[in-house]
């Protein structure tokens, strides 16, 4: 942080200026009854900014841009959400923003060590199993929501990061293969495929076909990363077989899709403006009504339409803030995802994880925005970071933490242990093994531990020196 201080100071200043300019627009163009409402919103936004920035500064790490961008986007969303239908602070969204920032740090700490996470795979599978059981037992039928005393959570959202993690953690075990009938297969890949089938089956059964493309995108990235992973030794015939299988699955899904899905694929929203096409028609009218600069925060009318703050939130923002501002807000999210590509991950685990997360976000954003604009069938998924929804925001925060882990991975976790081993092997050798070895005594001490094959090699090499 401190080596790059000037850049971060610029980002922080512009972050604060961005939020202040948005609050200025609310002040001049917003629809609020009392200045108190606006003052509360301003206090919440600037307070969250300051707390977030100070918390980031206190925690020393290699990358801060993702933290700052997450903070910026969440506060922008807080302003958007607080202005729908009139300016008032959305306390619920503020709480979920804080939860999202905390889960970001949690995701970072849990996933940065690829050696550790490799040994925790069984627990990740366990978490997925528990979440699936929760969906089956507590959602009350073919639904994805659990409602408890006024709170609704969507456990399927929490499956996303777990699924990405098992895709990433299993890639480094690909070279360990066992023979099943006539084929050599990796047990980890089999487990991952099993989990994929269960998750896809669950989505199909719960009729949550909006999330299915997101999981499919993650799975596609995991497959491509496996093809790129040299130690996997995947032959061209396997790649061709996978491509054919993918096409067959797509055709089967197309043919076997339920009737309501088939209808939605071919629906003409303008023919049924007050029926099945109502939401999309209103969303499109809202975008047109807003124009480039919008009608002003809280001045729109889309807040009367169902799911204005989640499924068609892009249209609602377009109506109130204008297409220009909504487009740039989405661009900021995309820039956050592309900054990850500027510093490519150094391990296949982090690369697979990063690719999966970026694919999930891009798929979800495309489904939401293009669905709202009637370019693809309307699926009803949330817009990451912007739509209201606690489960979605917390998951998004966790996934940004995973992205951060890919940028700031932990490779030195075993350094102390290795130094101890090296010290036991070469007693006079201290910290940096290869730099110090040339001054080492040729024979180790008599109380050296039992030598492994590797140690034998080292000994022989030293002996030859």
């Amino acid at each position: 942080m401190y080596k790059n201080g000037l850049s971060y100071a610029g980002v922080v200043s512009l972050l604060l200026l961005t939020h202040l300019s948005m609050l200025g627009i609310v002040l001049v163009r917003g629809n609020y009854e009392e200045p108190k409402d606006l003052a509360m919103l301003a206090c919440a936004v600037l307070g969250l900014d300051l707390v977030g920035i100070i918390a980031s500064l206190c925690y020393r790490q290699m990358t801060y841009t993702l933290d700052l961008m997450l903070l910026g986007i969440l506060n922008m969303s807080l302003i958007f959400q607080s202005c729908f239908g009139g300016v008032h602070l959305s306390v619920k969204f503020l709480i979920t923003c804080v939860a999202s920032l905390i889960s970001c740090e949690l995701g970072f700490l849990l996933t940065r060590n690829h050696e550790w996470i490799r040994h925790q795979k069984k627990y990740i599978y366990l978490v997925i199993g528990i979440l699936i059981l929760c969906i089956l037992l507590f959602t009350g039928g073919r639904s994805m929501w659990i409602t408890f005393k006024g709170f609704s959570i969507q456990p399927s959202e929490f499956i996303k990061p777990c699924y990405i993690l098992i895709c990433a953690a299993s890639i480094v075990e690909l070279h360990k293969k066992i023979k099943v009938t006539f084929f050599y297969v990796s047990p980890d890949t089999l487990c991952m495929l099993g989990a994929t089938l269960v998750i896809f089956g669950l989505q199909w059964w719960c009729r949550d076909l909006g999330s299915l493309p997101t999981f499919a995108a993650v799975f596609g990235c995991a497959v491509v990363c496996r093809f790129c992973y040299p130690r996997a030794k995947i032959s061209k015939s396997w790649i061709a077989a996978a491509a054919v299988a993918g096409v067959l699955v797509l055709i089967a899904a197309w043919k076997l899709a339920p009737a309501y899905v088939q209808e939605r694929l071919h629906v003409d929203i303008w023919a049924d403006q007050y029926g099945t096409g109502y939401q999309q028609c209103q969303a499109l009218i809202g975008i047109a009504r807003g124009g480039w600069l919008g009608m002003g925060p809280g001045q729109g009318s889309l807040h009367n339409v169902f799911a204005y703050e989640s499924d068609i939130v892009f249209s609602t923002i377009c109506e109130e803030w204008g297409l220009l501002y909504a487009g740039i807000a989405v661009l900021i999210v995309l820039i956050m995802l592309t900054t990850v590509l500027m510093n490519p991950p150094k391990s296949y685990y982090h690369a697979t994880m990063t690719a999966g997360i970026v694919a999930a976000f891009v798929a979800q954003m495309s489904l939401n925005i293009f669905g709202s604009c009637n370019l693809i069938p309307f699926t009803g998924v949330t817009l990451p970071f912007i739509s209201q929804g606690g489960s979605s925001l917390v998951t998004c925060g966790f996934m940004v933490g995973m992205l951060k882990a890919g940028q700031s991975p932990l490779f030195r976790h075993q350094a102390a242990k290795l130094r101890e081993d090296a010290a036991a092997e070469l007693p006079s050798l201290p910290k940096i093994p290869f730099l110090q070895k040339k001054d080492a005594p040729k024979k180790p001490s008599g109380n050296a531990p039992q030598r492994s094959h590797t140690h034998r090699n080292d000994k022989n090499r030293r002996g030859n020196a």
Binding site: R231, L324, T339, R412
Partner: protein, 181 residues
């Protein structure tokens, strides 16, 4: 253009100025983030050099920095450092780094992996070590490109260098010298 001008002139000035300023600031924020991310990536690269001890592989006159925690050496097209020689297996050996120490592991190759002319299944590497895969000889060097010749020991039989084609996938001495996903 006339319509656009009519549209703009129909707007109230404060609204237009405010919106333009807000959009401009948002754009500047995006640009500053890209700039900071670029600086960060350079710092991360330096950190990686520390983690990986700045080790590179020298093959003939070319040097290949090891820019991932796992580098496959082999004849296959997907290998990180491709050695197009028939004596090298398709998936010959893999180099990994842990805690700043590089090691090489043989992946069951036909012709074996040799470090300083001793056949190994797994061995730690230090600058100056000479790796031989089939008839291809590679030297481990540090970030300055210096190997330490005194680390190489007894004179082995000279490996066949003439049959080795230059690795095809990478350019030497470039930042992205080895393939990363």
């Amino acid at each position: 253009m006339t319509e656009l001008w009519e549209y703009i002139s129909g707007l109230e000035i404060p609204d237009l100025i405010l919106c333009a300023a807000a959009v401009l600031i948002l754009d500047l924020f995006a640009i500053s983030v890209i700039f900071a991310a670029n600086r960060e990536s350079r710092l991360c690269q330096k950190r990686w050099e520390k983690v990986s001890s700045g080790v590179a592989l020298r093959f003939q006159d070319a040097s290949y920095p090891l820019s991932a925690d796992e580098i496959l050496l082999g004849r296959h097209i997907s290998a990180d450092i491709r050695l197009a020689d028939p004596s090298v297996s398709r998936y010959h050996a893999v180099m990994t780094v842990t805690g700043g120490i590089w090691s090489i592991t043989d992946l069951g190759s036909k012709s074996g992996t040799f470090v300083n002319e001793r056949q190994v299944q797994h061995a730690k590497l230090i600058p100056g070590d000479v790796i031989r895969l089939g008839s291809v000889q590679l030297t481990v060097t540090d970030h300055t490109g210096q190997s330490q010749p005194r680390r190489t020991r007894s004179k082995p039989s000279q490996p066949k260098k003439a049959t080795v084609k230059k690795p095809q996938t990478r350019r030497p001495q470039q930042k992205g010298g080895t393939k990363r996903v």
